[in-house]
């Protein structure tokens, strides 16, 4: 939802793709270097998140007392003492950072459970949702992008471009609500919400199918929107590659159009798409908040909402740090894939 920037950073990803022949060692070194470089970045993220919640009106105890219908000042006082909220801000920040250094994400006041447990519990659902949506939109988007870009300016191109643009402009929550009314309430093909049939006792394959059926609508909603994005990037990339020398050369050699499209044009246009994947990772994680709320999926986005409304500093920081680590990991992966895909050794130019 937030930020669907296209193009954008030209050096967002350091230069892993410079060599296609990335040996095991090099990959490991890359990972190690990245991990080291991301420490200060993560530190900034943690401190800023902490400070943000610090400025909030009302703390975790206010939020908790509200949820129980009120309580007097002495209860609030004793609760604050119990959760260490009565200490000074720097003291709490230091406490948090030092426990984070021991990979301890702290204690969630809102849920009264370790933050790590909560994250481990919710993350798989979000990963499943985002992973399937990404795979689907990437596959469909690039395929349709190839269709559209095979003949730039054709009717098919224009139709696909227009539809994708409109899809892209529809707010995801609106699309989600409408799809749910049509497919879940009217046609009853799919369940309205949830991640699986509650307390059904299904296991193995039956459970996997059940989850897939439940995820169809939320994944479909997200995929439709991101598909539009990938389609447009793919199409634009192909349109650009058509004009390049090696394509002109291939055409002059009399290669079939189909062959040119797939072997030369599409392959080169795929690179910016992969870059886009890395750039969009953060935005897609953010976009899951609304979809998870509409489809009642107990995932990361909803957990974040609950953390904010419960003024749960440790939990929200934990969520944001985990998302940040995820985004870093995705970008690392993208770099490795990029290096494998890029046929030009030492290429400096990367269309975006």
């Amino acid at each position: 939802m937030a930020g669907r920037p296209e193009g954008g950073a030209t050096d967002a990803l350091p230069t892993a793709h410079k060599s296609a022949a990335g040996g095991m060692n090099r990959a490991l070194r890359l990972i190690a270097r990245r991990a080291l470089a991301s420490i200060p970045v993560l530190l900034i993220v943690v401190v800023l998140t902490f400070l943000l919640l610090e400025t909030a009106a009302g703390d975790a105890v206010d939020a908790y007392l509200l949820s129980i219908g009120g309580g007097d000042a002495s209860v609030a006082q004793s609760l604050r003492a119990a959760y260490g909220l009565d200490q000074s801000m720097p003291a709490r920040l230091w406490l948090y950072l030092s426990s984070l250094a021991r990979l301890d994400l702290g204690w969630s006041v809102a849920f009264d459970r370790p933050v790590r447990d909560l994250i481990v519990e919710r993350l798989p659902n979000t990963l499943l949702l985002m992973g399937s949506a990404t795979a689907l939109s990437f596959g469909l988007g690039s395929a349709l992008g190839i269709l559209a870009g095979a003949r730039p300016g054709s009717f098919r191109d224009r139709a696909l471009s227009t539809v994708s643009l409109v899809l892209y402009a529809i707010p995801s929550f609106w699309l989600g609500l409408v799809l749910s009314i049509v497919f879940a309430v009217q046609l009853r093909w799919l369940p309205t919400s949830g991640i699986e049939t509650i307390a059904s006792g299904r296991t193995g394959l039956a459970r996997a199918v059940d989850i897939a059926v439940h995820l169809a609508l939320p994944v479909g909603t997200l995929a439709l929107i991101y598909m539009a994005l990938f389609l447009r990037v793919m199409r634009a990339g192909m349109a650009e590659v058509w004009g390049m020398d090696f394509v002109l050369f291939a055409r002059s050699k009399g290669l079939s159009r189909m062959r040119i499209v797939l072997r030369h044009v599409a392959r080169n246009a795929l690179l910016p798409l992969v870059t886009m994947l890395g750039l969009q990772a953060a935005a897609m994680l953010g976009g899951s908040v609304v979809i998870e709320s509409i489809f009642a999926i107990p995932g990361f986005g909803r957990l974040a909402q609950e953390a904010v409304s419960g003024r749960d500093t440790a939990l929200l920081t934990g969520i944001i740090v985990t998302s940040a680590v995820l985004v870093i990991a995705v970008n690392l992966l993208v770099d490795i894939v990029y290096a494998l895909l890029d046929p030009r050794v030492g290429a400096t130019e990367r269309g975006a």
Binding site: A57, G70, G194, A296
Partner: protein, 536 residues
């Protein structure tokens, strides 16, 4: 129904139900026999602490009341509006210094241990009085609980405490928890606060955060052969549009607490197989109230407050915001509490001309733009209706020349701003009337409450006469005299307007037709559902 397809299980249960209908006259009167089954219900929140003995709130009761029972439950037909649960009889002493409870025999906890007076004594002294949000008010003067035998508990108070108050509070404040699991532990952090153990018709089976709570039938329930259902599942649906869709798609069978938005009721009531039920919330009346910060000099002027009261069109509020599912308020006690309600109080008709005249009289003339003064208005975020009323109030005030700026905040920030920081001029609040004015109503206008107490008078209002009436009523043993004092209380509040009562509402339940015995008592949504059944 008995005509169900006779699988082995339904056959057995139908047999049990048949037995029941001959054994229990109340059940014979009930709508139909049951076939067991699983009832799936929408839940919109997941309380962190599910222990109703500590957290006496409707969000907790919704789930927990099926597992943990109070001494008595509210009732449409019982004496004093109560029907016995874990207590079978109660009696107050002449001097108001003690109340004796006779407890039900043959009750066991879900873990098999017997329920005794020791559990009641422990709950009262170690939980209700020191830890519970409402119990600390009701049991403020509780000194000891004597247990002469396993079936008797005698509550002894240091100051006279009206039996009327205790009685009215019983359904809300008296959830009994097992002493053997809590004694000697950190009660607030006990794992049994989530994995509940009680005496109720259902056992707590499972909680999957973000997904559902599952309760299963307690075969050893003292009210055998109830419960009728095999299982209750509370399915978490955080999105407000979710419950209606899930009901229509037959994924859930019941949505209580107006989980289906009021605006959708008209449409959904016409969907075949779905019924809309407005009963069952009579003892859970919510009040729509305009809280006033009397520290603002304009609002400290009674004329201004009267003008605001006249500027509000209660009919519009009831008809348009609540779509008729509410009633206009006259004062701080709702009509649903006939024991206390007094209609003979000063009233404020919708009259813009009069409101303008009062404001002129008070010396706040309109400026060139037609504005008299500006206010900060904070609508509580908890309900669609409180927010919408905020939008309406801004317009209603504009019509009399008061410029209100709405400040929205989420729950925690609203709570802090209004009840701790007093950073508001007007606020819209939805307090609950809990059966007796002394439980959570007088606190809304009483002076001397420290900052930080939610749902209390944080507007800096002080009225010695009103305080005196409240104090007197709190220690008056005689029911008739106490009731009279509360009638006086209503007159004083309506006359001096420490706050403005606008409307009062109960919630709406939407259920599939197959759910039987819905709304069988005035606190139905938060009662034990032992008699609730599924057809077919």
């Amino acid at each position: 129904m008995l005509t169900a397809i006779p699988t082995r299980r339904t056959f057995l249960q139908a047999g049990a139900a048949l037995l029941a209908s001959t054994a229990l006259p109340t059940l014979a009167r009930a709508q139909a026999a049951s076939a067991g089954g699983r009832l799936i219900v929408a839940a919109d929140s997941e309380p962190k602490n599910l222990n109703p003995a500590i957290v006496a709130s409707n969000g907790v009761f919704f789930v927990a009341s099926k597992v943990i029972e109070p001494l008595a439950e509210a009732s449409f037909e019982g004496k004093d509006g109560l029907s016995p649960r874990l207590a079978t009889a109660w009696e107050g002493s002449e001097d108001g210094l003690s109340v004796t409870f006779k407890l039900r025999a043959g009750v066991t906890w879900h873990d098999g241990k017997p329920f005794t007076s020791a559990d009641v004594a422990f709950s009262a002294l170690s939980v209700w009085k020191p830890l519970q949000n409402l119990g600390r008010i009701v049991f403020a003067n509780l000194e000891t609980v004597e247990t002469p035998d396993a079936a008797t508990a005698v509550f002894r108070f240091s100051k006279p405490t009206p039996l009327q108050l205790i009685r009215n509070a019983l359904p809300v404040v008296s959830s009994v928890i097992p002493k053997h699991l809590y004694e000697g532990t950190d009660i607030a952090a006990n794992p049994a606060n989530v994995q509940l153990v009680g005496t109720g018709p259902f056992r707590f089976a499972e909680y999957k955060p973000g997904e559902y709570y599952r309760l299963t039938r307690n075969d050893a329930y003292w009210g055998k052969p109830q419960p009728n259902l095999d299982e209750i599942v509370f399915r978490v649906l955080p999105d407000r549009a979710g419950a209606g869709a899930a009901l229509e798609a037959e994924e859930i069978q019941l949505a209580a607490f107006s989980a289906v938005p009021l605006t959708d009721l008209d449409r959904i009531s016409r969907v075949p197989g779905i019924k809309v039920i407005t009963k069952g919330y009579e003892a859970l009346t919510y009040q729509l109230v305009v809280e006033i910060n009397h520290r603002r000099k304009e609002l400290a002027d009674l004329k201004v407050r009267q003008a605001i009261a006249h500027a509000i069109d209660r009919k519009f509020v009831v008809d348009t915001i609540f779509l008729g599912y509410a009633a206009a308020s006259t004062g701080p006690v709702p009509k649903n509490a006939p024991e206390f309600y007094d209609a003979d109080v000063p009233t404020y008709d919708f009259d813009v001309a009069k409101a303008n005249a009062l404001l002129d009289e008070a010396g706040y003339a309109k400026d060139a733009d037609g504005k008299r003064f500006s206010l900060k208005l904070r609508p509580a975020p908890y309900f669609n209706e409180t927010r919408q009323f905020g939008d309406y109030l801004r317009q209603a005030l504009a019509a009399v020349g008061i410029d209100a700026e709405i400040v929205n905040a989420d729950s925690a920030a609203h709570q802090k701003a209004v009840y701790t920081d007093h950073d508001f001029d007007l606020a819209v609040a939805p307090p609950v009337f809990r059966g007796d004015p002394a439980i959570s109503t007088t606190i809304l206008v009483q002076s001397g409450i420290p900052a930080g107490v939610g749902f209390s008078n944080q507007g800096g209002y002080a009225n010695a006469e009103l305080d005196a009436v409240i104090a007197k009523a709190a220690e008056t043993i005689d029911t008739a005299r106490r009731t009279e004092l509360y009638r006086q209380f209503q007159k004083l509040v309506a006359a001096d307007l420490p706050l403005i009562n606008v409307a009062e509402w109960g919630f709406i339940t939407v259920a599939r037709d197959s759910v039987l015995n819905v709304a069988s008592n005035p606190r139905w949504a938060v009662s034990n559902w032992a008699d609730t059944a599924l057809q077919g």
